[in-house]
C-alpha cells in the first residue's frame, strides 16, 4: 500500500459507507454515500440522503414501547415530539415529525434501543479513507476501489475531491455517481480525481425533468457535455432509473443514446429498473412517498430497451 499522503481534517456529511459493492464501477468497491441532494426525484429510493444535515430516523421495530422504556416521552426530548396512541394495539412510540425534526445526535443517543438514530454524520477525510482502506487487498485483486455516491456527492466538492485524491494516492480506482445538477465549478474540482463517472440521464424533455425532479435539465446536459469534452480520460457511464409511465420508453433511451454516442469516452449506458423497495426509509423519516402507484418495469420492456442500447454500442448476442 502506498503510504497515505493526505492528513486532511476536512470534514463532510457521510450517510453510510458500504463495503463489497459490485455495480458502481469496476471490480469490488466501497461505496461512500454523502448526504445532500440538489434534486427531488419523486421516485427517490434514498430519501435519507436528500437533506444535507444529519437527520433523525425512527425504526418502530426496535422500539420497546412506553411501559418498557418511554425515555423519549419526557425531557429533554421536545414536548410533543414523541407520543403513544391510546387504545392502540401496542404502546410503541409514534413520532410527530413536525416537532421532532430538530432532534440531534445527542438526543437520539439517549434512546436505549436504537430505535432513534441519526441518518448521517460528520466525518473527516482521513476517517472515511481509513474505512475504505480496509478492503485494499480486494481492490488490488479485482481492480476495484472507492465510489462516491449520494445524495449528490458533488454538493460537497472539496470533501469529495480530497477523498478521491486520497484514494488515488493509495492506488485505488475512483468513481462517482452523480446527476450533475451543480455549478460547473463544483465539477471542475472533483473530476480530475475520477476514473469513472456514472451519471444519470433521468428525463430528456426539460419540462418533464422539472416536473419529476424539481429543475429543468439544461444545465445538467451542458455539464455532461462539458465533462465529456474536458476530461477525455474519464470513463463515463450513463444511467437511467427506469420508471414505467415516466421514462421507461424507447424515445427516452434513443434520445440519451443520441446525446452520448458522439462521445467516445461514454463507454456504456445502463438501465436501472425502478423498484418500490426500501420505501420504509420514508416511514423512518416521516416523509411522504410521492410516487405511490408506479410499478416495476416488466422484464420484457427492460430487455427490449437493453437491446436498443446494445445495438447502439455494437454489442450483439446479449
Amino acid at each position: 500500500m502506498n503510504p497515505a499522503t493526505s492528513t486532511s481534517a476536512l470534514t463532510g456529511i457521510v450517510l453510510n459507507i458500504q463495503r463489497y459493492c459490485s455495480h458502481d464501477g469496476p471490480g469490488i468497491r466501497t461505496n461512500v454515500f454523502l448526504k445532500g441532494c440538489s434534486l427531488r426525484c419523486k421516485w427517490c429510493g434514498n430519501p435519507e440522503s436528500i437533506a444535507f444535515k444529519p437527520e433523525l430516523s425512527y425504526d418502530p421495530k426496535k422500539c420497546t414501547g412506553k411501559k418498557a422504556c418511554g425515555v423519549c416521552l419526557k425531557a429533554p426530548f421536545p414536548e410533543g415530539a414523541f407520543y403513544v396512541v391510546e387504545g392502540a394495539e401496542d404502546d410503541k412510540v409514534r413520532v410527530n415529525w413536525d416537532l421532532a425534526g430538530d432532534c440531534d445526535e445527542a438526543l437520539a443517543s439517549l434512546c436505549p434501543t436504537g430505535a432513534l438514530e441519526m441518518f448521517g454524520k460528520r466525518m473527516t477525510v482521513d476517517e472515511v479513507l481509513a474505512e475504505v482502506e480496509k478492503d485494499e487487498s480486494i481492490y488490488r485483486s479485482t481492480k476495484g476501489g472507492m465510489t462516491l455516491s449520494g445524495g449528490e456527492c458533488l454538493l460537497q466538492p472539496d470533501f469529495s475531491a480530497a477523498l478521491l485524491k486520497g484514494a488515488h494516492e493509495r492506488g485505488f480506482n475512483t468513481a462517482i455517481e452523480t446527476a450533475c445538477n451543480v455549478p460547473w465549478a463544483y465539477i471542475e474540482k472533483v473530476l480530475p480525481h475520477v476514473d469513472t463517472m456514472l451519471h444519470d440521464h433521468k428525463l430528456t424533455i426539460t419540462e418533464r425533468h422539472k416536473k419529476w425532479t424539481g429543475v429543468g435539465n439544461e444545465r445538467i446536459l451542458a455539464n455532461f457535455k462539458k465533462a465529456y469534452e474536458t476530461f477525455p480520460d474519464i470513463d463515463f457511464i450513463a444511467r437511467t432509473p427506469l420508471i414505467p409511465g415516466i421514462n421507461a420508453d424507447e424515445e427516452h433511451v434513443r434520445a440519451v443514446l443520441a446525446f452520448i454516442r458522439p462521445h467516445k469516452n461514454v463507454i456504456d449506458y445502463e438501465l436501472l429498473p425502478y423498484h418500490r423497495f426500501g420505501l420504509g426509509k420514508y416511514l423512518s423519516l416521516g416523509v411522504v412517498y410521492e410516487l405511490d402507484d408506479y410499478k416495476t418495469p416488466s422484464a420484457d420492456l427492460v430487455a427490449h430497451l437493453q437491446a436498443i442500447i446494445d445495438e447502439a454500442f455494437g454489442r450483439t448476442g446479449k
Partner: protein, 391 residues
Amino acid sequence: MSKEIGHASFLRRIAIMVGAGHVPGLNAVIMGAAMAAGKLGWEMVGIRDGFDGLLHPDRYPDGGLLPLSPQLIENLDPNAAGLLGQAPRVDPFHVRRVNADEMVEEVDMSDQLLKKLQAEGIDALIAVVGGRGLSILYKLHRKGLNAVCVPRSIENDIAATSVSFGFNSALSFTIEMLDRVRQAAQSARKIGVVEVLGDQAGWLALQAGIAVCADAVLIPEIPSDLQAVAARLQDKVTARRPWGLVVVAEGATFVDGPKAETKPPSLKASLSPLATGDASDHVIRRSGQAAETVASRLQLAIAEETFPLVLGPWVRGGAPTAVDRQLALAYGAGAVRAIKAGNYGTMVAFVPPDVKFVPLADAINKVRTVPRDSEFIQVARSLGIFLGREL
C-alpha cells in the same frame, strides 16, 4: 388586541388560510369566518394557496391576499371549489424552492411568515387544516402566532372533536358508491371488496358499512382474521343470495399480516445506502393494497368470485352535505369567537352539544380511533355485520 396600521376603518385585520387537499365545505368555513368577522367590524383577508400567497406574493398578479369583502362573501357558492386555492404542501418550516444555483432545497421560512403577517397588519390567523397541519400550526403558535384552527378531516380522525367537517360529505358519497357496488355485486353474483379511506381510523368504513348493511367491515382498530371473514361469507353467501359486500379501510390490518414485498435485486441493493439495513424491510402500502389483499386472500378460501375496488381519494371532492355546510359555517364563525376571546393556540371543536375551543396540544399526537365499546360497533354487531373477528 388592537393594531396601529393603515386599515383605519376596521377594528382588526385577521386572515384565513386553508391547508393542503380539498375537503367539501371549505368555502362554507370561509363564509362563516368572514361573516362573523364582518359583524364585529373586522377586516378579513384570505391567504391564497396555503401560505404561498404570503410567502410568494410575486406569483400572484392580483396579490397573494384576497380581501374577503361582504360582496364577495355574499356571492360565494358554498358548493364550489375552494375560493383560496391550495398548495400541495403547507409547511413554512420546510419550504421547497430552487435556489440561485438552480438547486432544490428546503428552507425554514417560518420567521419570514410571521414577519409578513405582522407587516400586513394581520394579528390573528384562522387555519383550516387537517392532522398534520395542526402540528405545524402548533409549532407556529409556539413561535408567537395567534392561531385558531378549524379541523378538517375526511376520515374524522382528529382528536378532541366529535366531528371534523368534510367527514359527513365523504361518508355520504361513500355510501352512495357502496350502494352501486352492491347492485353490481348482486347482478354479477360476486363479492365486492371495497377499500375506503381510513389509514388509522375506521369511521368511514364502519359507518358506511353499517349504512349499506355490508357483510363485513374491516377497520384498522380490529386486526382481521381473513379465515374467519371467509367462513362468515360462506355462511352468508347462498344460492338465494349469491353475492356479498366487504368494506375495508385502507389501513386495515390482519392477524397473520400481509405478505412482505419481494427483496430488492442485488443491483438496486448495491445502489442504496442502507440497503443492507433493517430499514429496507418495510414497505409503504400503496392505495388499493388493502382491497387487493382481502379480495385475493378471500378468493383462496371461498368459491364465489371476489373483485376489489378502491374508492380512495374520490371522496374528497364534490359539494358538502347539509351537515358539513352547517358544521363548516359554525366552525368558521366559532374561530372568530375564539379570536375575539383571545383563545389562541386552540382548535374549534364540536363537543356535543357545544362548539368549544380546545388547546392544540390536546388535539395533536392523538388519533380519534373507533373504541371497542363504540355504539357503532354495537350497531354493526346487532345487524350481523362481521368486524373481522369475533369480539
